[in-house]
């Protein structure tokens, strides 16, 4: 009886979410997987089966490898910068005010800073893209170059110089993401019992010791979660690259990421089959990244 009740409950709870998910997510994806084995152009009534041809071509495609390289750089740099900045800022916000009396405290105005830092997070990515496009403009009408030229400098091609474009792009990603992690880490820091710090301060530990010896280790869990979120975000920067970069992925393809290439191949060049193969590759890459990260930095109870 109890078993029956349990199964009835399990099924009752799962039926709606699983049905919705299977119908609207899984079934289109299965079709996309099937399409990766065809030369479908998006218009044919019956796709042409070509076996693994798309995949063999993919591995010889320099655009594909180029996009992977971009993903690799974003994946390494962006989370690192975001987490580092967020840690520093949240440390300053929560503990940077120095000790007064018994405890550590944050700087004055820390609420204000937190509100401001988080703000980019509530803006739609499309808006962030358009906004930064104006800031990065390569002539005196660009906000940064306007200042640079006032100071007598040469305008800088933030998005048009191939040595710079990717870094400019990563900077925008960081600009948007840092505030979120500041809030996350601030919460984490306020959860660290005050007496830890008091004890350490009594032992004469400086601020830096406090940061590296106490704050950082206690935030390990939060950091790991942050890394996974940011990693997944790095694999999907479609909207931002699409809006912000030179002709979606330029110059010289240095900001080309897989989603952008997939979109172009499928919809501009009518090679949906080939694009689907890229999508399948991207799927396995993201999965591999997520599994690896979770295995390496596994949280107590998260399983995968």
């Amino acid at each position: 009886m109890e078993r029956l009740r349990k199964y009835g409950f399990v099924i009752g709870f799962l039926i709606v979410p699983v049905t919705l998910y299977v119908v609207f997510v899984i079934s289109p994806y299965i079709q996309a997987f099937q399409l990766s084995l065809t030369s479908w152009n998006g218009y044919q009534a019956v796709p042409n089966f070509v076996g693994l041809e798309n995949f063999t071509r993919l591995f010889k495609d320099e655009v594909f490898w180029n996009a992977l390289r971009t993903h690799g750089i974003v994946l390494l740099v962006m989370p690192l910068v975001v987490l580092a900045l967020a840690l520093v800022f949240s440390f300053l916000l929560n503990l940077g005010g120095g000790s007064r009396g018994a405890g550590m405290r944050g700087v004055t105005g820390s609420t204000f800073y937190k509100v401001v830092f988080f703000a980019p997070q509530v803006l739609a990515v499309a808006i962030v893209g358009v906004l930064w496009k104006a800031i990065y403009r390569p002539d005196e009408a660009g906000v940064i170059n306007g200042v640079v030229m006032k100071l007598g400098g040469e305008p800088i091609g933030w998005m048009s110089d191939p040595d710079l474009a990717l870094w400019s792009l990563i900077a925008v990603m960081c600009w948007q993401a840092v505030g979120f992690y500041v809030v996350l880490f601030s919460a984490g820091m306020s959860a660290i019992p005050k007496d830890y710090f008091e004890a350490a301060a009594l032992d004469g530990a400086g601020r830096f010791t406090l940061f590296f010896r106490i704050t950082l280790p206690l935030l390990r869990d939060t950091l790991q979660v942050g890394w996974v979120y940011l990693g997944i975000a790095a694999f999907d920067c479609f909207a931002l690259v699409n809006v912000l970069t030179l002709d979606a992925g330029g110059p010289d393809g240095v900001t080309t990421v897989l989603p952008v290439e997939i979109f172009k191949t499928a919809f501009t060049y009518s090679k949906v089959g080939y694009a689907s193969a890229m999508g399948v590759a991207l799927f396995f890459l993201t999965i591999t990244f997520a599994v690896l990260t979770l295995r390496v930095t596994r949280r107590e109870k998260i399983e995968l």
Partner: protein, 483 residues
């Protein structure tokens, strides 16, 4: 040769009414009807129809059933869509009392329509334009695109004694063919060349340079005043520069330079003409322009043009309409032919590129294919075409569509230049539509070249290799042209 292309083109252009501008003695631009032919019959005249069969009505050649709805999808780009909703559609519902039209204006033609073509619920008339324009060849291969031969052979809306095909420029008929069949209606005529501010030239006492040497000399003069000679937008419209290089090559080596590229002829990109053209423009951009333009899009660049930050800008004759709202009084658009590169150019200075664009097609499997053809026929009527010219400031392929319309100075100068060009008309490069991948690659690499990170030889080698890849790719359907 059964395709005396250039002569035909010229005649056609003459017939569109472009030549009238020069002929008309000061009295209002394009006031004379170049076609001659007296006054067109009023469309509403109730002249008895000389019906060839009991069912055939020249007023309704496709036997449109007014009870059937018609669905029209219009790309809302630079032309917006009030020429459709405010003109062509009312004309349709007036001609077929009781007819209803479902109109959709969109910028996402592809995202919106691709799935609908797969599901079979298609609109009847599609204005296939913009960044998401669909692959018409692929759609046609699936039988989605109606052949337009019946439209071209139908009696014209204004004068039942004339066939529609005789009321438009034949070059447009040619350019609307896919694999030899009439598939698309390319509605708009445009000239692609260089554009400059005539008032600025007047004020400075400068004259148009006719050779690259003069062009560069003017560049030095302008530089002294802090003005760049030339600019093109690195974003959104970088292919304006590619056109520039292709059409200059056609001027150097004749239209064959472009036709060979379209036909994927081996080493077509490495022809002497292409080499000379790319070399010349590479020098112009690197010495007389500024890299910051590589980071700007077309509107941003065009606004800078209006501010006299540079002299010459390569694009089509739609430019004037596009910038009408921002144009200050001190700026007057005028067309400039490409300067001659060598002393032995195949075409004289003054040769102009003229082509048709803005693709419309009727669907074959829609609810109302007759209505679709009728809608296109109405677009090709005098009233429909003239209204389009008035609303958009661009010319249509319909002969005399600009009659009585006072053209803005830029368009008038384009008409004048076209007439002066005579038979020296540069053909449109068609691989842009046939092999988009190659076209995109060519301009993307061109930006690298202009950014100074590649040599001209490397550029032509790379693009040639891409052309070879496209040629070898069996999944890409091939097209050819002979003129």
């Amino acid at each position: 040769m059964s395709h005396p292309g250039e002569i035909t083109r010229r005649d056609l252009l003459r017939r569109i009414g472009l030549t009238a501008v020069v002929v008309g003695p000061g009295a209002g631009l394009l006031s004379a009807c170049a076609t001659g032919g007296g006054t067109a019959a009023s469309p509403s005249a109730s002249a008895p129809a000389p019906a060839t069969s009991a069912a055939f009505d020249p007023k309704n050649p496709f036997a449109v059933d007014a009870k059937k709805g018609l669905e029209v999808v219009i790309f809302t780009g630079g032309f917006k869509d009030d020429y459709a909703t405010g003109l062509h559609q009312p004309m349709y519902t007036k001609a077929h009392a009781g007819a209803t039209i479902k109109h959709t204006g969109t910028q996402n033609v592809g995202t919106m329509l691709r799935p609908r073509f797969l599901s079979g619920e298609v609109p009847d008339v599609v204005n296939n334009s913009g960044p998401e324009a669909m692959d018409v060849a692929a759609l046609a291969a699936e039988g989605h695109v109606a052949e337009l031969t019946a439209l071209w052979d139908a009696p014209s809306f204004d004068d039942p004694s004339k066939k529609v095909r005789d009321t438009v420029t034949p070059a447009a008929l040619e350019e609307g063919k896919l694999n030899g069949k009439d598939m698309t209606l390319n509605y708009v005529v445009s000239q692609r060349a260089l554009w400059y501010n005539a008032k600025l030239f007047q004020e400075k006492g400068w004259t148009l340079p006719t050779t690259m040497e003069e062009f560069k000399a003017l560049g030095d003069k302008a530089k002294a005043e802090g003005i760049h000679l030339f600019a093109y937008p690195g974003q959104k419209g970088p292919y304006y520069m590619l056109w520039n290089m292709l059409y200059t090559a056609a001027k150097i080596g004749g239209n064959k330079a472009i036709i060979d590229i379209d036909n994927l002829v081996d080493n077509a990109w490495k022809s002497d003409a292409m080499k000379a053209s790319v070399t010349a423009w590479h020098e112009i951009f690197t010495k007389y322009s500024d890299k910051s333009y590589l980071g700007l899009d077309h509107t941003q660049t065009q606004v800078k043009h209006l501010q006299n930050k540079f002299l010459f800008y390569p694009t089509g004759s739609w430019l004037e309409g596009e910038m009408a709202k921002d144009k200050p009084e001190t700026f007057e658009y005028a067309i400039a032919p490409f300067p001659s590169v060598t002393t032995a150019d195949a075409m004289p200075y003054g040769a102009i590129q003229v082509g048709s664009g803005e693709v419309f097609f009727a669907t074959a499997k829609g609810q109302n294919p007759q209505g679709a053809l009728e809608y296109l026929r109405i677009m090709l009527s005098k009233e429909g075409a003239k209204g389009f010219v008035e609303k958009t400031g661009s010319l249509t392929i319909v002969n005399g569509s600009a009659d009585g319309v006072e053209l803005p100075p830029g368009l008038a100068s384009a008409a004048k230049a076209t007439d002066a060009a005579g038979p020296n008309v540069i053909t449109s490069a068609r691989f842009e539509g046939w092999y988009k991948e190659l076209f995109d690659y060519a301009w993307a690499q061109q930006n690298i070249l202009m950014g100074g990170r590649m040599t001209v030889e490397e550029y032509l080698d790379k693009v040639q290799k891409k052309a070879d890849d496209v040629k070898a790719d069996s999944s890409i359907a091939k097209q050819t042209r002979d003129a």
